[in-house]
């Protein structure tokens, strides 16, 4: 599970859902949750939160061009690769910490991923959970 800590900077709500913008060291992440400030008090500007998302939800792109619907799209550096027949675990250096991605070994080969590669990593807004930092 990937964990990043940040602060809520903006909120957009509808009756049962919220789109939450979270600032992590200058990058803005988006998360959609089935809560609103009325049902969950921690949904407020300035609130410190932890972003949680599973490794397998993190996609990796190299030399991306064109438009893409994914809003969470950040730069990182491949630090290390751990391969198994089906899946490959990619350790990325991101900001001061690390983000781990699990992608198929086939994709890793297609992208010719190697340590030191500059890549972009992506995660869908609906895959990002928020954990209230008390």
């Amino acid at each position: 599970m990937n964990k990043l800590t940040g602060k809520i900077v903006a909120l957009e709500t509808s009756p049962h859902m919220s789109m939450v913008d979270v600032d992590v060291d200058g990058d803005v992440f988006c998360s959609i949750v089935l809560e609103t400030p009325a049902s969950a008090a921690y949904l407020k500007q300035g609130q410190p939160v932890t972003l949680l998302f599973k490794e397998a939800e993190v996609s990796i792109g190299k030399n991306l061009s064109g438009l893409i619907s994914l809003r969470n799209r950040f730069k990182g550096t491949v630090k290390q690769l751990e391969k198994s027949p089906i899946l490959t675990k990619v350790f990325l250096e991101y900001k001061k910490g690390q983000v781990v991605s699990i992608i198929s070994t086939r994709s890793a080969q297609k992208l010719a991923l190697a340590p030191g590669d500059e890549v972009e990593w992506l995660v869908k807004t609906n895959e990002v959970s928020l954990l209230n930092e008390v």
């Binding site: 599970m1 998360s31 959609i32 949750v33 089935l34 809560e35 969950a40 921690y42 599973k54 490794e55 397998a56 751990e82 391969k83 198994s84 027949p85 089906i86 899946l87 490959t88 675990k89 781990v100 699990i102 609906n126 895959e127 990002v128 959970s129 928020l130 954990l131 209230n132 008390v134």
Partner: protein, 289 residues
Amino acid sequence: MINLRLKRQMQTSRGPEWIDLDLSMASGGFVSLFGKSGAGKTTVLRMLAGLIPPQEGRIEVDGDVWFDSGRKINKPIQQRKVGFVFQDNCLFPHMTVRENLAYACLPGHHDGIQEWIGLMGLSGLEGRKPHQLSGGQKQRAALARALVGRPRMLLLDEPFSNLDRQARLELQDEIMRVYRKTRITMVLVSHDLWETFRMSEMIFVIDRGRITKNGSPDEVFVNNDLSGKFQFTGEVLDICKEGVVNILTLGIGHQITKVVAGDEEISDLKVGSMVIVAAKAFNPLLFKI
């Protein structure tokens, strides 16, 4: 309403400690006293039953005072009319299942026996002595015996702890069925998070003789700070490493499911650990059945 105010010294592995608590519960509810062994929960249950007296305090059940140290009231256990199911089944070894149930009945009021034998799935076993029964059958017989005399509440002292997984689930279902049918007040003492969570309506967490937390199972056990809406409590049944990930087999309710997890996610888990399984509400696929 059941109101307890209890004070009593108990001997623990850490030396003498005081049970000192004050709790209220609704009659007709399913309440659990949850905590580690040695926390004092069994002692509380025994004081409620009248097996041991508090050194100080008051026990009141639906306006009826069972114990009051100030007014020197201590209603004998025989008059409290509580059903008690012990950790080790306490069937009388020289009596058959039927005789055990008959012992609990007043003379001439044996009509409920056959019904309870049937309800507890003991038909055909009524002529057996306890040593001829399996662990699960013994506990079901003990449950039937506790209920056949129509008690006003049923006290369960770790009734599942000596049973295997299958027998445990069956007995839990049996108790829930009885509870829904009779709406008799149930007080369960347990150190098992899973069964407590599954069965109770109200939980008192007891630690070192004091109540540290109370509320509904969700309020007590579920981490409400997590935004995931798709959330269950389960038990880890198996952990299996597969390449760069781990496959966890989880028991959730009566279902067995598998979940993929990373190394650091499972670093403090082992078979038997309780976990909250949460996912974003967007992910589950639904199929009509």
